[in-house]
Amino acid sequence: MPAVSKGDGMRGLAVFISDIRNCKSKEAEIKRINKELANIRSKFKGDKALDGYSKKKYVCKLLFIFLLGHDIDFGHMEAVNLLSSNKYTEKQIGYLFISVLVNSNSELIRLINNAIKNDLSSRNPTFMCLALHCIANVGSREMAEAFASEIPRILVAGDTMDSVKQSAALCLLRLYKTSPDLVLMGEWTSRVVHLLNDQHMGVVTAAISLITCLSQKNPDEFKTCVSLAVSRLSRIVSSASTDLQDYTYYFVPAPWLSCKLLRLLQCYPPPEDGAVKGRLVECLETILNKAQEPPKSKKVQHSNAKNAILFEAISLIIHYDSEPNLLVRACNQLGQFLQHRETNLRYLALESMCTLASSEFSHEAVKTHIETVINALKTERDVSVRQRAADLLYAMCDRSNAKQIVAEMLSYLETADYSIREEMVLKVAILAEKYAVDYSWYVDTILNLIRIAGDYVSEEVWYRVIQIVINRDDVQGYAAKTVFEALQAPACHENMVKVGGYILGEFGNLIAGDPRSSPLVQFNLLHSKFHLCSVPTRALLLSAYIKFINLFPETKATIQEVLRCDSQIRNSDVELQQRAVEYLKLSSIASTDVLATVLEEMPPFPERESSILAKLKKKKGPGAVSVTELEDNKREGGELNGGGDRGPDTAAMAASNASTPSPSADLLGIRSAAPVGAPPASTGSLLVDVFSEAGPAAPSAAVNDDGFLRDLEQPTETSDSLLVEGSGDSDSAPPSEDPAPPLSEADELLNKFVCKNNGVLFENQLLQIGIKSEYRQNLGRMYLFYGNKTSVQFASFTTTVSCPGDLQSQLNVQTKPVEPLVEGGAQIQQVLNIECLTDFSDAPLLNIKFRYGGALQNLTLKLPVTINKFFQPTEMSSHDFFQRWKQLSQPQQEAQKIFKANHSMDTEVLKAKLLGLGTALLDNVDPNPENYVCAGVIQTKSQQVGCLLRLEPNAQAQMYRLTLRCSKDSVSRRLCELLAQQF
C-alpha cells in the first residue's frame, strides 16, 4: 500500500511535507515554514468560512510544524472547533492537536472540556474513546476537576463497551497521577478490583495498571486484589501457548499481563492465606521451570517475553525474601545469564543479582559467581554493563572477599571510563574502610586510589583517611611512613600532597628517628611540592609547617625563613599571606608551652557516619547503598571507627582549630553547619590582634571556639547576599541617598559581640569592618577599622552613626567624619566616643555609603553597643547574693527564659562568656555547683542598676533556664533577651 493513500490523504499536507523534506538548508526550511504559517493565518482570518476539511488540513499542518520543533501560537481555536465536528476524521485531528499542543492553563480548556463532555455522553464508543484518550494525554488538573467523578462510573458500568473500559481505566490512572486528591474511588473500589476477573484480557491488562497504582497508595483498601491476581496469574501460567489466542505473543501467553500481575503482587507482603500462597509459589516455580525449557522459537521476541516474566518473578521472590529455595534457584538462573550471548540478559542478570546479594538467603549463592563478575568488569565492551558488574561486586563484597574485590576494582580504575570513575573511587574507599582488618591495608588502598585516580578522589575521601588515621593510634606511624614514601614519586597528585602534608604535620615525629626521613628531609620533601600546588593545598602546607615548628624545634629557623620570604608574607593571595604572617608571628612570639598548646595534635574526630557513604548516597539516591550496608552494620557493628565515646576536648580542639583555619575546619565536623571553603580574605593588622588574643590562654581560646572562628567564617556567608543587595540598589532605582535599612543579619552580627569587644563586625566582598572597643563606667570608646578589600578606590566614603527614636536621649555617640577616599587595599580608622545616659534597649545604627566603580554602596549595620557593656562586676558572698535576690522579688523585676542550647555547653566556654558579659562570676554561691550566678552594676549617667543573674544548664536536655533580677525592669528584660542568644 503506498503511504499516502491510507486514510483520507490530505494532499496539501503531503505536498507541504515534501517541500520541507526537499529544503536544502535550515534557512530554506524556515522560509518555507514562515510562508506556510502566513498562508494559514490568512486563511483562518479570512472572511470566508473554511469548510471542515480545510480547517482539518491546516490544523494538521500546524501540528506538523510544531512537531518539527517550531513554536505555534495560533490555530488553537480552529482545533477546538474541529472537536465539535460530527465528522470523525475532523474530530480526531482536533483532539490530536489539543493533546499535543494545549497546556493545562490554556483559556480554551473550558471549551475543550465542553466538547469532551458531549463526546463522553454521546454513547458512541469511538467518540467516547477519543475523548478519553484526550483526557489521558493532557491529564491536567482542570480536566481532573471536570471528569474525575464521571470516569469511574463509565469504567464499571455494565453496558460500557470493552474498548471504552480500557480507555477509561488508563484515563483514570493518568488523572490519579496528576491529582490524586480528586480521584475518589470509594464505592467503586471493589468493582474496580473485580475487573481483574474480566473475561476480556485487554480490559484486565488496562485495569491492572490502575489497580497497581491505587494499591501502592492505599494497600489496605485494595488488598482483595491479591487473591484475584494470583488466580489470574495461575490461569495464564498454566495455559497452553495457544489458549489465549491473540494475547499470546511469540508462544508466550500474555506476557504483558503476567508481568503486571507479578508487579501488582510486589505491592503486598506474601499472601497470608496458605492456599493462595501455595498457588503462587507453584506459579513462581512454573515460571522458573519454563525458563529452563528449550525455546519454542528462535526469535528474540520469544526469549525476551519469556525472560521478562522470569525477571519480574525473581523481583517478586526477592521482594518476599522468605523462600530460600526460590531465592537460590533464582540466583542460579541468573548465573546462567551472566555468560549469555545476549548483552541485554547479561546486563539484567547483573542488575538483578545486586538485589539478591542483599538477601541473607542468597548472598552466599551470589558470591559463587565472583570470578564471572570480575571477568565481566574486565571484558565487557559496553560501559553500562561494566558499571553493573562494578555495582554487583560492591554488593557482594564482604569480609571474605573484600581484598580480592578491592584489588580488582582498583586495577579496573586504571582503565575505567571517565563517567564512572568518581563513583568507583567512592565505592573502593567505602569497601576499604568497611572491611579493613588491618589499617595498613586501608591506608595503602586509599593512597593507591589517590595515585591511580587522584583527579576523581573527592574531598570526602581524603578527609576520611585523615579522620581515620587521627582516630587510630596504631596506624599513625605506618601512615606517616607510607605518605612519606608516596611523596617521593617525582610527580604525585595534589591530593597526595594534601594527605601527606596533613599526616606529616601531625605524625611526622613518628618517623623522624630514621635519618632518611629526618625532620628536615620531611620538610624539604613537602616544600618541594609547594610551588606546584593550588592555593588551598599551599594553605594546608603552611599549617603543616607551623606544626613542624612545634614537633621539631630544629626546623624552626628554616621554616621561619620560608615564611618570611616575600612570596609568602607578601603573597597576593590574602589567605596565604595571612597564614604566613600569623604563623611567623606565632612562632616568634609564643613560648614553647604556648606553641605546644596551640599546635597540639588533633583530637580524635567524633564518631559518625562516613562522609563518603553520605556522598555516595547523595550521588545515587537512597536506594543505591544496598541493604548490605545496613546488614553489615548490624552484623559487624561498624568497627573501624569503633568506640564512640571519645569525645573531643573542646578547648584543645578550638586551639588546634585556630592554628589551622578553614580547610581543616570542615574536617573537624564539630562545626558542620559552618560554611566550607576558603575563609574570607582579610587584611590589615586587625586579625593579628584578634589572633594574638586567641592564642595563649585556654579559656579565651574557648571563647574563640564560638567567637573567633565564627568571625572568620560568618562573613563569607553574608557577603554574597549583600553584594546582591548592593548591586540591586544601584541598578534598580536611582541611587538613593537615604541610609539603607539595617541588614537583615544586623541583629545576628550584634549578638556576636555581646560577650566580647573585639573582632570583625562585618565583611563582604568589598569591605571589612573590624571593631575594638573598651568601656569604663558609663563611658566607652570604640575603634572602627574599615578595610578596602578591592584594588579599586572607594570614593565618597562616608559613615554616619545615628541613635534612632528613644535611643537619642539614652545614648550619646560622637565621632569625627572619616576621609572620603579609601584606596584599594587600605584601611582607615574611626573613633567613636560613647556615653550611656540611661539604660537602653536599641542599638545605634552605623550607615556606610561609598562609591565603588560608580555604583553606590549603601549599608546599615547595628553597632554592638549593648547595655551590658556598662557593667561593673560586683563580688559578693552567697549570703549577700541571696539576700539581694530576695529583695528584687517584684514580678516585673524578674525576667526569665527557658531555651535550647545553641552552642557548646562546656563549662569553660560558658564561664568565658559570662565573664565577657562584664559581670562578676560568683563561685560557691549557688547550692547547685552546675549553676552559674553573676552579679554586676550597670553604670549610666543618671543611675546605677544592680543586676543578678542565674543560669541553670540542663546538659541532658540541652536546655538552659536563665533568670535575671535587676533593680530596673526594662534592664531585666533587655539583658534576658540579649543573653538568651548567647548560649
Binding site: 512537531l67 470523525y88 505473543y249 536506594g623
Partner: protein
Amino acid sequence: MQFMLLFSRQGKLRLQKWYVPLSDKERKKISRDLVQTILARKPKMCSFLEWRDLKIVYKRYASLYFCCAVEDQDNELITLEIIHRYVELLDKYFGSVCELDIIFNFEKAYFILDEFLLGGEAQETSKKNVLKAIEQADLLQEVSQTPKIFT
C-alpha cells in the same frame, strides 16, 4: 512509561509522546540529550541504559530508533517488546512500514500509539484488536468522505 521518542539516524525526531507533564523547553532538552546519547552508542551494546533517574530502553529498526523512558521498577525486557509490538502494528497497518510512512502519516502513527498505549501503560496488547479499532476509524472516515467524491 514517561515518554516515547522515535528518531532517525540523523537525529531527527519523528514522533514524540509524553506521558508526564513537562514544559516544551524541558522536552526539547531531554530529546536532544537523549538522541545524542543513543546515537553515540555502538550497535552491539545493550538496549538499556540508566539516564538521570530513568531507565532508557531503545532499539533500532532500519533507519529509525525507538526509545522509551521507564521508571526504576519497570521491566526492561517487556518494554523492549512494547516497542516491537508497536513496530508490528505500524508494519501491519502501513504494509512493511518505512520511515517515510511515519513522516507523511504522522497523525496515523499517533492514533495507532494511542490505541496501543494510553497514559504510558499498555491499553490493548492484542494486535488484532488494535488494528480493528484503527480500521473502524478509517471506515468512518471513508463513509463520511464518500459523498464528497460521488457528488
